[in-house]
Symmetry: C3
Subunit: 118 residues, 3 copies
């Protein structure tokens, strides 16, 4: 068994919008279990981008604020923004926009992040 680093880096893949409340809960539970030193990044694209948009419903919006308060990094996909006719300004302050969500997920894993797709 490999010795585990004390503070893992985790990337969470959110490509769809049908389970956003459950996924938000999963990520907050992960923060509690892994501790504040772990880096947890949520990468959204396609319908999953709804997690980051202000127009979504109250529960999702509260979830987004909870994620930010817990120090979860949030990432949106510019390909998806473009396909909806939106600019980078459509996502809240503090959310990072990357050119391609799927490519970013590959790069993060190449950088040693552990992948989860809840």
């Amino acid at each position: 068994m490999t010795t585990r680093p004390t503070a893992p880096n985790v990337v969470v893949h959110v490509p769809d919008n049908d389970r956003l409340e459950a996924i938000t809960r999963n990520v907050l539970n992960l923060r509690v279990a892994l501790g504040s030193k772990a880096t947890i990044e949520v990468v959204t694209h396609g319908p999953g981008l709804d997690l980051l948009l202000p127009s979504t419903d109250t529960a999702i919006h509260a979830g987004l604020e909870g994620l930010q308060a817990a120090g979860i990094r949030l990432v949106g996909c510019r390909n998806t923004l473009d396909s909806r006719g939106l600019s980078d300004a459509a996502v809240p302050p503090g959310v990072r926009v990357v050119p391609s969500g799927v490519a970013h997920l590959v790069h993060r894993q190449q950088d040693g992040y552990t992948y989860l797709r809840p």
Copy 2:
């Protein structure tokens, strides 16, 4: 190409309950294809915990017995049990309960397990 170890360790992520029969079949096929020396662990949380609960339908229950007979390790999430008002005793004998299913999936990958999310 890396040389493959003869007996891989695999962790299978089950966060939802909409495809439990298909996932059970996938895991049993994986057992046949990888052989009896491979370690295969199924980690359930959220609605995915239904795979392990005795109250689910006949096909799921038969699937659970089939997984146990095939030497598949089964893991449930205590966060999920708590949220349903259940204790560890709600899952059948032989099923392991971990504090957080999602954190366990991170730890397993840090230990070298290969991740699948069927």
Copy 3:
């Protein structure tokens, strides 16, 4: 931070058929973002095999042709073909058939491929 290889190898897991158009788009965007030297392999099994079958709808068929034109490797699962009473000849030329889709996904990761489950 690990230095990233210039041409990553990526394996894309498609176990279901409910989002085939979105997944096709994801994979084509990944090709553009990672460049022509990256190896991208799409592994289908269960209902996900529909991506590779000629009988599926027009949009899916166009997607399949687009993936092949973009140099994406396509893989189908013989367990799934068998369960539908189909032979290897049911998938188009250029598609590889492996004995078990899920086992192939494990082997690819053991060989260093990065896993995505869009």
